[in-house]
């Protein structure tokens, strides 16, 4: 395929002030822990500062200029973020992060619609935040939690999905899958998954965990045609403490609010309350984090300027380079798909004879930040008997030189441990 757009990360690195700082004295920071959280560009930081220095006031309340400005910023930010994800503010519930979004679905939709004997289907590659809330819900409801297998190459099987749908029939109430695996980088074929579910089990709801997809892929909520899509701002250049729960409008209309209080009501008497008709209002209880939302919107604009398709292409080149260079080291076993096209955002591996924490520590001494551990995917690690893996994960400010530095760092591991 001919690539018309050549992305040049050098033009953007200076936007990230933290990348200028030194590590362990005078080492350049090589930040390869983006799947845990990304760094933030100056544009995002400025937006947050500007909100507090120029516009801070509560929304929807005071009749005064600052209140108006703040309210406008709030709605504009919600619109920008929702548009970035291919939807509109009426389908966008603000939460703190992906974890909270999934819990909210479990506590609202799950509590209301799940009954004893029903089935929730997830996969073995899910992050704990897409496992534990369902385990808990299943316990509360006497429902069953079932798993799709992950094969040796880190893939799900669509055939197994078809079989599971047939097996569970109308008991299958929810399929909750990650779009991109944070542990092994797999890009799951969500479109095909949704088509199969809609064809064979149209009543089943689909939740997609987009925590690792949102930072790298163009997400079109409507085109994906899922019921719930959940993301964290902090992994996509936005601030911590902001997340999105996107819910299909007709479903959201039927759902009970999760949080009750100010802002989400129509009329309150001593005895009872009617809730706001407007979905945005009904699902925003209490004072929102306007600065955080504005910061997240700035991150969406920043990413949008480059174009997510361009960024995905660039991510592919980084993943490909990492896969190729890691194969040069005989002690390294890459986990997950071996082809870059089946991956997004990261490459994780085992280093023969050396624990992942020791690898991470030696890399850190060279200024290289990676993640080591089970990456909140213990069932997956247990299945494949990986004690812990080392993961390098990328963002647009990473370069192939960063990956080369990682390889040099890994050679130090070899020197230190003599293997």
């Amino acid at each position: 395929m001919v690539k018309y757009t050549m992305f040049d990360p050098q033009a953007y690195i200076q936007d990230f002030p933290i990348l200028q700082r030194k590590i362990h004295g005078d080492k350049r920071l090589i930040y390869l822990d983006n799947a845990a959280t990304s760094q933030k560009p100056q544009q995002v930081l400025d937006t947050i500062t500007e909100y507090y220095t120029q516009h801070n006031a509560n929304v929807h309340r005071g009749i005064h200029q600052l209140g108006d400005e703040s309210t406008k910023i709030f709605h504009a930010a919600r619109k920008t973020i929702a548009t970035f994800f291919g939807t509109d503010p009426q389908e966008f519930v603000v939460v703190r992060n992906t974890t909270e979004a999934i819990n909210q679905v479990a506590y609202t939709w799950g509590e209301e619609y799940l009954t004893a004997g029903d089935v929730i289907l997830i996969s073995e590659m899910e992050h704990h935040s897409n496992i534990v809330p369902w385990q808990e819900l299943a316990h509360r409801k006497h429902a069953q939690l079932a798993y799709l297998d992950v094969d040796q190459m880190g893939r799900l099987s669509l055939d197994q999905l078809r079989i599971q749908i047939k097996t569970y029939g109308n008991k299958l109430k929810l399929v909750a899958l990650t779009h991109v695996s944070n542990a092994i980088g797999t890009l799951n074929p969500i479109k095909e998954v949704v088509e199969i579910i809609h064809a064979d089990s149209p009543e089943t709801q689909v939740l997609v965990d987009g925590a690792q997809a949102a930072p790298h892929l163009a997400i079109d909520f409507h085109r994906l045609n899922v019921d719930f899509y959940v993301v964290s701002a902090h992994k996509m250049l936005g601030p911590m403490g902001m997340g999105g729960l996107f819910i299909r409008r007709d479903l959201l209309k039927k759902m009970k609010p999760f949080l009750f209080g100010g802002g989400m009501i129509n009329e309150v008497t001593k005895e009872k309350t009617t809730f706001a008709e407007d979905l945005e209002e009904r699902f925003t209880a209490g004072t929102p984090d306007v600065a955080g939302l504005a910061g997240w919107a700035a991150a969406c604009e920043y990413l949008g300027k480059m174009g997510m398709h361009t960024l995905q292409e660039y991510d592919q080149t980084l993943v490909e380079h990492a896969l190729r260079r890691l194969r040069e080291i005989p002690q390294i076993k890459i986990v997950g798909p071996l082809s870059a096209t089946q991956r997004v955002g990261s490459v994780a591996f085992l280093y023969k004879g050396v624990h992942a924490h020791d690898v991470g520590q030696i890399l850190d001494s060279e200024g290289i930040a990676v993640r080591s551990g089970h990456h909140c995917t213990m069932p997956l690690h247990t299945k494949f008997e990986w004690q812990a893996t080392v993961r390098a994960s990328f963002q647009l400010y990473n370069t192939s030189e960063d990956i080369d530095a990682l390889i040099e760092g890994l050679k130090k591991v070899q020197k230190v441990f003599g293997q």
Binding site: A356, D358, I362, G373, A388, F417
Partner: protein, 131 residues
């Protein structure tokens, strides 16, 4: 190169002291840090000394990162040399073990690795007390 991985640690990691098991152990302690997969199994021979358990022999087996395994190695050597009681072991903190390994101060993320062995003793004591 890498301060943490100086000779003492690598030597202890590669040639751990008191490594192995005791077939007729009086006590067997296990500890596992499930977040990283580090684990140790400790075999003890003990005798009673004023109502406390004095350790007369110790062996251990384990797997995991260099820090956890090296720390367990030097811990086992000290316990044996000083004939510590199990109660005494539970009072050990981060710094004496850092000292044994010749470390200044370990990073916050590695404290659990350092104290894996001590944790095994603490847990055993807690279990005993809660019984």
């Amino acid at each position: 190169m890498s301060d943490l991985y100086h000779e003492v640690i690598l030597e202890e990691f590669k040639h751990p002291q008191n490594y192995g098991s005791i077939a007729d152990a009086d006590l067997i302690l296990r500890e596992r840090n499930s977040s990283c997969g580090d684990e140790v199994t400790i075999y003890l021979k003990v005798c009673d000394e004023n109502g406390q358990q004095k350790i007369t022999d110790i062996k251990w087996e384990g797997q995991g990162c260099a820090i956890s395994q090296a720390a367990m190695s030097v811990l086992s050597a000290t316990i044996k040399q000083q004939g510590m009681t199990t109660q005494h072991v539970t009072t050990l903190t981060q710094s004496p073990i850092e000292e044994l390994l010749g470390l200044d101060e370990i990073s916050i993320g590695r404290i659990k690795c350092l104290l894996l062995g001590v944790q095994a003793f603490k847990k055993a004591l807690q279990n005993k007390e809660s019984k």
